[in-house]
């Protein structure tokens, strides 16, 4: 098995590997905390060794990345982290043992595994919500949310979760996926 994919990964190598090498170098430099020639060169060497020792399969489905939308997504997640932490704290203090939750079925508008991973991380990072299960073959995923107490709350939560998905697709989705997400939201 190691005979087959290795040479192909090697040839596809440089362009695919470059982001990983930059990222690993950055981590190395941050670990040392000093921006000197030694740490940067050392970081590049370590990154090269790591990418050589643990090769990743070449990316088959390039996903579009829109830097401004990514920044917007990061800003939203930070804002959401603060707001939702207050929300979760309120649930804890106000309801405690009588707090309720809900598990929602949400349509999945992306066919890319990597976008789904980003989506799961974004939703799960937000306090009070977590992704429980992806059923990509059925085009749905399931999110848990802490807090909803009646149907109106449930529908509001559903809109919030769909909003996160829309933002992730705005940053990383193809135009078709964004159109499907917009159409899906229009139905509701």
């Amino acid at each position: 098995m190691s005979d087959g994919p290795r040479p192909r990964a090697g040839r596809a190598g440089w362009r695919d590997q470059l982001p990983r090498i930059c990222w690993l170098t950055l981590v190395w430099v941050l670990l040392w905390g000093t921006f000197t020639v030694q740490t940067i060169v050392g970081g590049v060497l370590v990154a090269l060794a790591v990418t050589r020792l643990f090769p990743m399969p070449p990316a088959t489905d390039p996903i579009p990345v829109r830097p401004l939308r990514v920044l917007g997504l990061v800003g939203f997640l930070v804002y959401d982290l603060v707001v939702s932490t207050v929300g979760v704290s309120w649930q804890v203090l106000r309801y405690g043992p009588r707090a309720r939750g809900t598990i929602l079925e949400v349509p999945l508008y992306s066919s890319s595994d990597r976008v789904a991973t980003l989506l799961a991380s974004a939703v799960t990072l937000s306090p009070g919500t977590a992704v429980l299960h992806f059923a990509a073959d059925q085009g749905v995923w399931y999110a848990y949310s802490l807090g909803p107490r009646d149907e109106a709350d449930v529908e509001r939560t559903r809109r919030q979760v769909l909003d996160v998905q829309r933002r992730v697709l705005a940053a990383f989705g193809t135009p078709e996926e964004q159109a499907r997400a917009a159409a899906g939201e229009g139905e509701r």
Partner: protein, 118 residues
């Protein structure tokens, strides 16, 4: 000037500690595995960020830069863990249905989502 920085730093740390405390209270008070998992992981994330921000103001710049890594890896790892544990908890039936308003995963009824008889 240092006085202002000290006050801001202290406020950030206290807010972070408060956030972590609320997470711990939630861990004790909330009724189910899934909701406790929320309290255990999420307020801690914000709390850690605030404490790191407060710390970053009090240490030399090169140490503060390393703190960015701590925050970054918290963001990367925390969702993975809470998702894995949450899913295992649900599939193993650790979630009592009466604490859920709506459970559309069970409504599908095709997975081993029903709580097994204990």
């Amino acid at each position: 000037m240092t006085g202002v920085a000290d006050i801001v730093s202290a406020c950030l740390m206290l807010l972070g500690a408060l956030s972590c405390l609320l997470g711990a209270v939630g861990l004790l008070r909330l009724p189910s595995m899934l909701s406790r998992l929320q309290a255990a992981t999420k307020p801690q994330t914000l709390g850690l960020f605030l404490i790191l921000a407060g710390t970053a103001m009090r240490v030399p710049v090169d140490s503060a830069v390393t703190l960015v890594l701590v925050a970054l890896f918290q963001v990367i790892t925390s969702p993975v863990i809470s998702q894995l544990v949450g899913r295992s908890a649900y599939l193993s039936g650790a979630v009592r249905p009466e604490v859920l308003v709506v459970d559309e995963l069970a409504e599908r009824g095709r997975r081993a989502a029903e709580p097994p008889p204990q």
